[in-house]
Amino acid sequence: MSRKPVTNGSTVVRLPTGPTTALPSDICPVCKRVRYLNTDMEFLINPECYHPMCSNCVSNIFKSGPAQCPYATCTKTLRQRGFRSAFFGDLAVEREVDIRRRVAAAYNMVEDDFETLRDYNNYLQDVEDLTFDLISGAEDERRAAEQKLLHREQEFRDEIERNKRRGREAELSRQKRDAADAEAARQRRLEEQREEARARAEEATINAEVMEALARGEPGSAAEIQARIVAQNRARVAAISGAHFTSLLDTGVPSGTSNTLSIRGLKTKKISEEEEDLSKPYDPFAGLGPALEPSRYKLHESYPNPWLDAARTHDDHRVPGYSISEYVTRAMFDAFAGLGVNIADEKKDVARGPGTLVAAEAAATNRVSERINVDDVFG
């Protein structure tokens, strides 16, 4: 190859040179084949340099391994694997979309990550500046932006991964919430329909009653009879229909309207379990640290005891690390173990049948010596 590769250290590429960046439609710019003779011709691009060529050229040139791009001024080494068909007819758009996708994957923070809206907007502004530099900045701007992006991708891999996961989770929970809302709304509608039908049926029976009363020739005018029966039954209809169904039984007074707006779909601020866990500092003792400290006595550094002197000094105890302080701690624990155990309290707690009474009493009488018994019979 006569062309010298020019390394510029950047992986974001220039656009194909030439007046237009549109995908060719009829003639392959590399082999000059025409669609007229090859009706199934398809143009592919490689995101290394976005130079379009027909699928035939791709397999001819790159089948046997990576090779240089066949465009006259292009020095990129391409592989067959990298080729794909362009989604947009305009390759500039295609490239911009690719870059934006990459930037968005690296800078994937959401508003909740920021203290204030202003911070978030500033962040968005910065990201957009960077994106713009990558897409249509001058050579040095682009290189600087590329460096920034690479740094972000490498240094903050964990954070990016975490944000991604969180985004997925948020999306999932949003879908779930939407589905639940839709289901609830459907149930509500069904319920209203059912109530309305029942109220209608009720009203029909009342009307029938009125007609019957009229037919029987009860005393009073027709209007009075109707008013009487309606008054008797109003409570019944109201109980069924609630406020959903305006019936003729309604009096003139608008009683069912409420004076507050019903607002639905308010965002509920809920701290997730994960965030709650992460907001607390990690406690290596898992909350048990202070609970196991002796509370009824103070442990001293050392207790003079001639019986222990030999164990302190002899090599068979001292060298393998036998710990006198462990022994002393245990002895002190044993000495105080029985204190603070209130048998009366315990008896209240333990619900036991006649069978366990004996055992519990035996336990109670032996409690003071609990630690002394611990010595291993077999050790």
């Binding site: 290596p284 222990l308 164990a311 393998p320 036998y322 022994y327 245990r330 609990e370 611990v374 010595d375």
Partner: protein, 411 residues
């Protein structure tokens, strides 16, 4: 010794005390509160109880039956030389699964019960901590077979995760979370004066919520009094500290800390760090990995009964050596590892100080237990873990390891 007049009803006494003293007592308390008695009568057939035997035996059998009826034994999860493990559930709540470990009658211990089982019951019924396996109950079935009702832990053990390099990936945060749970368990044991003496990845079982639980107390014992020897033939060889390899009979919680350190190392390199074929080989490997124990770094070591090292003295490994191997832990993590792998047990960090170390507060923060990598389908494995004999390396070398627990000095 076995008929010490002190021991009247040790299990029931401890059981009762536990019900009030432990702040972590969970829902299991209702079941455990009454289960001590039948056991006590079996364990301690002592003279004092003999007078009331005619009545108490009936009562014991009655209580035992009552306890036994609470559980339904399901299919077998695994069978071993030491015990069979069955899946079981509560009779009045079939959704509550338990593992029932049925101790086999062993040839060596036809009279009385196997010491492993006694140790296990004795310590498990005392310790109640989220990172230690819970024993719900004990009962005997026909032929005086001992049954331990344990918490059912379906997700296998840490060893599976460590050695499944193809399917399981984990990072520094996960290691820190696991180590946190392990260290808490060991700290709690030591705080209650219990030496576990068999800490290794396949004794670290994983609960359904990802919590790591220390299991297999078959070699555990309480701290010894001064002048009372303990056996040095404990802890699976790969995790055995130098003082035990040198035959020390008076040791402290530091032996467990060494094992914890090696589990940490294994979590990082995903293969046992110091895996010797024999005791001698194990010492040689420790010399290579950590440095040769000498009078300089461990005053008095040459006087230990079985002190034998190669003539060629390897100097103590420096921080850079550990950084090269375990750099993923970060500077603090390596510092903690070095402190756990200190040759001299007096200089070795204690479990409590481990929890006070800076490493826990440095980045990355430990993963939440729900988010830890886990493996499904560990049902067969939980059986395998519980039925194993304590203190033995499985794998191919298992057959060569003599099961020798030295109970001589205690008699």
């Amino acid at each position: 010794m076995a008929v010490s007049p002190l021991i009247v009803h040790p299990t029931s006494a401890l059981q009762g005390a536990r019900a009030v003293s432990s702040p972590l007592k969970n829902a299991a308390s209702a079941q455990t509160s009454s289960n001590g008695t039948p056991l006590a009568v079996q364990v301690v057939p002592n003279a004092a109880a003999a007078a009331a035997q005619s009545t108490s035996l009936d009562l014991a059998e009655q209580l035992n039956d009552e306890e036994k009826r609470k559980y339904v034994k399901g299919k077998k999860l695994g069978e071993g030389t030491y015990a069979n493990v069955y899946l079981g559930f509560l009779r009045n709540d079939p959704s509550h699964l338990v593992a029932i470990k049925k101790i086999k009658i062993q040839k060596e211990y036809t009279e009385g019960m196997a010491p492993d089982a006694v140790r296990e019951i004795k310590h498990l019924q005392e310790l109640s901590h989220p990172n230690i396996i819970t024993m719900h109950s004990v009962f005997s079935s026909k032929d005086q077979n001992l049954n331990l009702v344990l918490e059912y832990l379906p997700l296998g053990d840490l060893e599976m995760l460590i050695h499944d390099t193809e399917h399981i990936r984990y990072g520094a945060a996960d290691i820190k979370a696991w180590m946190g749970m392990l260290t808490r368990a060991v700290w709690f044991c030591h705080e209650n004066f219990v030496l576990h003496r068999d800490i290794k990845p396949n004794n670290l079982l994983i609960a359904a919520d990802g919590e790591v639980k220390l299991a297999d107390f078959g070699l555990a014992r309480s701290f010894s009094d001064p002048y009372r020897p303990m056996t040095s033939n404990v802890i699976t060889r790969w995790y055995r500290p130098p003082e035990l390899l040198f035959g020390a009979q008076h040791y402290s919680g530091a032996v467990d800390v060494w094992s914890v350190g090696l589990v940490l190392a294994e979590l990082v390199i995903r293969t046992p760090y110091i895996a010797g074929n024999s005791e001698i080989h194990q010492i040689q490997l420790i010399c290579q990995a950590v440095g040769t124990p000498t009078e300089d770094n461990w005053p008095g070591v040459t006087k230990l009964p079985e002190y034998t090292v190669d003539k060629e003295v390897i100097p103590l490994r420096g921080k850079d050596h550990y950084m090269a191997l375990f750099g993923t832990l970060g500077v603090e993590g390596v510092d903690l590892l070095m402190k756990t792998l200190s040759l001299d047990p007096k200089k070795r960090i204690t479990a409590r100080d481990m929890l006070k170390h800076d490493w826990w507060h440095k980045d990355p923060r430990p993963t939440r237990k729900q988010d830890l990598p886990k493996k499904s389908g560990g049902q067969g494995k939980v059986g395998a873990d519980l039925k194993r004999r304590p203190g033995i390396i499985e794998e191919d070398r298992g057959s060569k390891v003599a099961r020798k627990l030295d109970f001589g000095p205690a008699k």
